[in-house]
Point group: D3
Chain length 299, copies 6
Amino acid sequence: MEKQDRPFEKVIRHLISTGKEGHLFHHSRPDISLPSAAELGKLMSLLKEIIFPGYFGDSPINSESIAYTTETNLRESHRILSDQINRGFCFYCQDENKNCSICKQDAGEICSRFIEKLPAIRQTLATDALAAYNGDPAAGHISETVLCYPSMEALTHYRCAHELLKLGVPLIPRMICEISHSKTGIDIHPEAEIGESFFIDHGTGVVIGQTCIIGKNVRIYQGVTLGARSFPKDSEGNPVKGIPRHPIIGDDVIIYSNATILGRITIGHGAIIAGNMLVTEDVEAGAKISQMKVKSQFL
Amino acid sequence: MEKQDRPFEKVIRHLISTGKEGHLFHHSRPDISLPSAAELGKLMSLLKEIIFPGYFGDSPINSESIAYTTETNLRESHRILSDQINRGFCFYCQDENKNCSICKQDAGEICSRFIEKLPAIRQTLATDALAAYNGDPAAGHISETVLCYPSMEALTHYRCAHELLKLGVPLIPRMICEISHSKTGIDIHPEAEIGESFFIDHGTGVVIGQTCIIGKNVRIYQGVTLGARSFPKDSEGNPVKGIPRHPIIGDDVIIYSNATILGRITIGHGAIIAGNMLVTEDVEAGAKISQMKVKSQFL
Amino acid sequence: MEKQDRPFEKVIRHLISTGKEGHLFHHSRPDISLPSAAELGKLMSLLKEIIFPGYFGDSPINSESIAYTTETNLRESHRILSDQINRGFCFYCQDENKNCSICKQDAGEICSRFIEKLPAIRQTLATDALAAYNGDPAAGHISETVLCYPSMEALTHYRCAHELLKLGVPLIPRMICEISHSKTGIDIHPEAEIGESFFIDHGTGVVIGQTCIIGKNVRIYQGVTLGARSFPKDSEGNPVKGIPRHPIIGDDVIIYSNATILGRITIGHGAIIAGNMLVTEDVEAGAKISQMKVKSQFL
Amino acid sequence: MEKQDRPFEKVIRHLISTGKEGHLFHHSRPDISLPSAAELGKLMSLLKEIIFPGYFGDSPINSESIAYTTETNLRESHRILSDQINRGFCFYCQDENKNCSICKQDAGEICSRFIEKLPAIRQTLATDALAAYNGDPAAGHISETVLCYPSMEALTHYRCAHELLKLGVPLIPRMICEISHSKTGIDIHPEAEIGESFFIDHGTGVVIGQTCIIGKNVRIYQGVTLGARSFPKDSEGNPVKGIPRHPIIGDDVIIYSNATILGRITIGHGAIIAGNMLVTEDVEAGAKISQMKVKSQFL
Amino acid sequence: MEKQDRPFEKVIRHLISTGKEGHLFHHSRPDISLPSAAELGKLMSLLKEIIFPGYFGDSPINSESIAYTTETNLRESHRILSDQINRGFCFYCQDENKNCSICKQDAGEICSRFIEKLPAIRQTLATDALAAYNGDPAAGHISETVLCYPSMEALTHYRCAHELLKLGVPLIPRMICEISHSKTGIDIHPEAEIGESFFIDHGTGVVIGQTCIIGKNVRIYQGVTLGARSFPKDSEGNPVKGIPRHPIIGDDVIIYSNATILGRITIGHGAIIAGNMLVTEDVEAGAKISQMKVKSQFL
Amino acid sequence: MEKQDRPFEKVIRHLISTGKEGHLFHHSRPDISLPSAAELGKLMSLLKEIIFPGYFGDSPINSESIAYTTETNLRESHRILSDQINRGFCFYCQDENKNCSICKQDAGEICSRFIEKLPAIRQTLATDALAAYNGDPAAGHISETVLCYPSMEALTHYRCAHELLKLGVPLIPRMICEISHSKTGIDIHPEAEIGESFFIDHGTGVVIGQTCIIGKNVRIYQGVTLGARSFPKDSEGNPVKGIPRHPIIGDDVIIYSNATILGRITIGHGAIIAGNMLVTEDVEAGAKISQMKVKSQFL
């Protein structure tokens, strides 16, 4: 093999040398496939066909065909998801002597337990769809909210990812939430807890942090942040993980667009937060919070 | 068929039972396909090739080939769109005795009327492209704005969807707008009215509500909300649909990033709204509105 | 060919007539393909496989296969990118007598020089991944940040596009940044200058303008705008291009969500800007800027 | 639309003018799709997965999954086949007032009756597979004959097509047989009648005509023709259709390669025909027919 | 790059070394694509849609749509064919200084001239379809012969390839004939001359050699060879190319299955050759040639 | 799940019941994929690109790129082939306790040994290509024979399959030969032994049996059978496998079209067999064998 056939030799040597960039190279164990966002995307399409029959997919559905179609979709979902859960285990696995068949079996069992949760997930999403219809005068029909509201897309991903996370699945829940984040601009951490009848209108720019707790019947608008104010670091300067640092939102709260709620504060039941507000302290139940009216010439 | 072959039987029975989640199951009439976001995506690609010849598509175009290429794209657009319009009709159809061929014919005729509107839509989009070039010092060449500005993507979808909505097409206009919402983060309701020479810089997070009326030559930035303040509910607690509740924006207005304009208020001709403002009252023509300057230590 | 076979004849005549919409028709030179967002998408997937081996792509990777895989990906990247750079040249070319083989050769050489920059780009992205891990308590493992943080996606696109722009490539850098803008909601102009160890949490709605200069170790949150305040127009009313008009951000600055920093101002080293702030004047090093606390009933 | 845009105008006018070539233009009724060889190819793949579980298809199969997999494949087969049968009806339909829904329903019912025949078809193919194993010393294992013997491919197509033809389906049976003819070089007319335990070794060039009757346990080799000697024409010179004109082959007959058996003759039980023979008269049961030995110099 | 990363180094060195196998390595000129059987397959599909409207393709056709559909298919055919003709030129081109744009232009012009021949090709194929219908009692309807008779497939390829060869196109005609050879088992050399109303029943194994001349209204059956007897070699032992060495077949001849006609002999008008005959001498007009009847025991 | 949802229940019960058709159901071991004709087709395409660089594949090749391209194709070939060899092992494996990783490793090693044979295979195919050029006056250029002669296609498959069979690979060699049998109508058993410089003109209908031994520089024509005369059965009536029963063909022999050579006879060096002959006894070296000339009227 002659020289000219290897034109990038020097660049390659730099690119693959391990140094300060060592953490950018993920050494896989042999024959282990990587978790795949594309496969998880297919999974979520199947779950949407299961949860909302007749709204998505290629073919119409009726009372006669629904049982069969649901079974087919469940089987395919199980195949994809148990494989992805296993890949998630492998991704973090350092133990070369580990018996892979145990992880595979675990993945299959977790996946089955997740499927048993689907009816409950579906019940909650049914309340979310109603909340969307009741919360938006522009919604002409409830089926519109199922078919094309970003809120439903984001919540379907979140509610599935949240169950997976509770079942101990690593990595995959976050990847599932990032798929809908990319599509809708709504960023919900899978560890957040969100009650039924939740609605996010428009949605772009919404952030719901890892330790948020949100009650029932809450409605928020685009650009709302439920974030952390700051976070403590340990003696080595690394952020301390897992400390509750995001807001608790009571039932029946409304938060208008671009409002920012920061820190482990509590927004009481029925409170209303106006648009563009920055809130960093507790708000009483029933309170209505807004900016002072400020107007002035500028420039 | 033995037991182990039907492992999800109980889950399926729950998933398909009709109860409080009945609205999540869309019973299609037999042999009727569902509206398809993928097909509408293809349609919009074709319309972009028709409206902006030489910018998109696989092959170059010149004075000799343009008539033929445009015809080919129009025919394919007609095929896809009339099918989707018909599916839109079917989606809401409850009448089992309805003569489907009438709906099909209606869909075809509406589609033809839409195609006759394309030259006018194109004229307006030409003003939008100029507005983008004149409104952004970073634009090196007008063709850049056509090729890759989110504003042009969102407005092409909106202006087509708006015409379809005016022609009485259900569901499809909203789906078309959601496609560009997902891609650009710009959420324009197809029923909003927007004048020529409109430009949205950057775009992510912009919301333009259902009953907005926007004049000519308006420029807005990322994160701007033209929203409703609140909405009345009827005696059963459902939101009253169709009431004007979003702002009227005059000609030549500029609204900077993350400003929020709420309610059926009027922003007068030539007014300028500063970034991050919350505006809930009328603004006079020519006014420049900004926050008071506020600075303080925090934490 | 009979009449009924040409149903859209009149519409076509309008659509292809040149008038005020002339700028919407891009006349290609014969046999020249258009720049393609789909091809650039493939390119970025390959570059991600090169820069972050073992995180993306279909097959696992280890110490033995990395050199070969990297070479294969580099070759394919070179093929796609040099073709796209050439198409970028052609897109603006008006000179019918131009010798195309010269442009082709130039494109190939620029592409090779870009590939030589990849190790340095990778070094910087390594600092960005660490910054993400250190800047987010929700990150359980550094590999999560590489695998699914929008910040890494946007910075990988930006850092590659920025090098291409410095090498004189037209159009393509902007298209590359728009791809990640669409996916992440983070809009970084390829001409902006951004130091190492940069982290954007959540990201949706972030805008970083063309003439921004950002120091090392900066952290910003969703919805942050680093924008221009206004821009001068020339005697013909066109915006003057290329004037510095965006902020300079010092090292170690933190800017919280939805803050808006406008104009050629300087935010000093170590400053902290609170959420939802509008800042239009210089901020001293070490300052902590927030809104006055404002609360009031509304409606 | 200018001249140069229609370069093939004259050619097109000739190509579409109706004259002596009128029979080359099939005028479809509107909205009726054509029978599709590609769809029939998919159908046959599914039927092969149903009849020979575990030999074809993407995924392995076992006692637990076979019922479900078979059901899934049957449903998909039913969908494709009933559609193709209906297209077959439409292809010959001249009656513009015909009620299409009746044909659709007929197609569905015929398809269901065909599916009820599948177990019997499978029983016969099981004897064919054994015959192949017993008839070829080169077959190491019976599964080889199922997996890759042209004989099994051709007989699977023939036996399915034959049932469809008996159920009154037009056109489709012939198309199914042509698919395997193209793949294997074995041309069996779907109307021929072939007993169980049939084996065609190598197969290329075999022709089995429309009115052939073949007994049980027959073995033939490549290049064997069971053809017509000549055929009567009616008063207008057209061939009289449907007259028995091909051989009747008794049980346990062997016909070696490239032998040609012509006309409505009978080859008695247990007869053996040597290679390259031309046989145009009845052969007694048990006879062994071969050429005289002829040798000579040539040129 | 370490050793283990190049495991096939030695094999590769052998595989690419030039020696006695030099003729297996085709050195392409840079940037020149190879002729592609796949592209030629697409071309032939388009030509079949043009010549036999309503028989092939995805969508039905009628009097209103035929002109447009034909035009679209012609344009696409022109695009593919002129590219393949050019690739054919390049494949044999040794002259590095050749101006490629001349070849490209030549290819385009030849292609246009070919398209002008299509109406005449179609007229001849119309006689072939009638001949098939009249020559096969099993044909229930003339449309069957167009839709699925191997004879029509092979003749469509041959008649197109023959015109291309007459227009001076290298390589491509042979490739087109090999496509149908593979599909039908009928091997017609594109240089053979074949009159109208030609029919090949069943077809597998038919060979029609390069210098054959076949009259009108000829019918042949499967396995018929019209071949050369032997061929002279030049002083270096290479076969002398281009000498007439295949039979001349008169009008109205019938040749039954597996007959072999060898050498530059003439089969007179109206002659009939029985199955399995070997004929190496002239046959008078009207003669009926068959084997003596030979029967004997064997083994 | 209700009744109507399981319409094929009875049919399914029959289809999956094990009885006389038990051998049609291949019980796979769990998680073991089936050998795949589609994958083997891809493999053969890669091997053709390796053996005949510049003739096949998407992109041109030259002295600089050949080493890299060959390496890439070899690696991909190794990946596919070792996987298919392993599937071949699994297909016959009955031992549930077998350690699959041993078979996997064996498959990889056999595959590597096969790749080491490729230079020798290529040398032989180089002589075959020359033989085709020298044996066919219609061949205008040697590259034509590589590019589109069925003989080269069939021999490439056979010579690769033969090496695999010698290396002990089950099933896969036969499947590889059936792929080219389907495409070319040439059926060569992978166990046959064929010397260098072999040429099969036209090819359709050729059969070369399992225990054939063919010398160097042999040329045969379409329809030639080198078959078995009959075969002994064992006491249970099953054919005795593996007995030499096909002809031995000496060097420099020519066998014309449709000749049939049967049984373990020897055709001496330099013999010539005329078309349509049936030969069942030894032929001396140098002999020229043909039919007596027979002519007669028939009917």
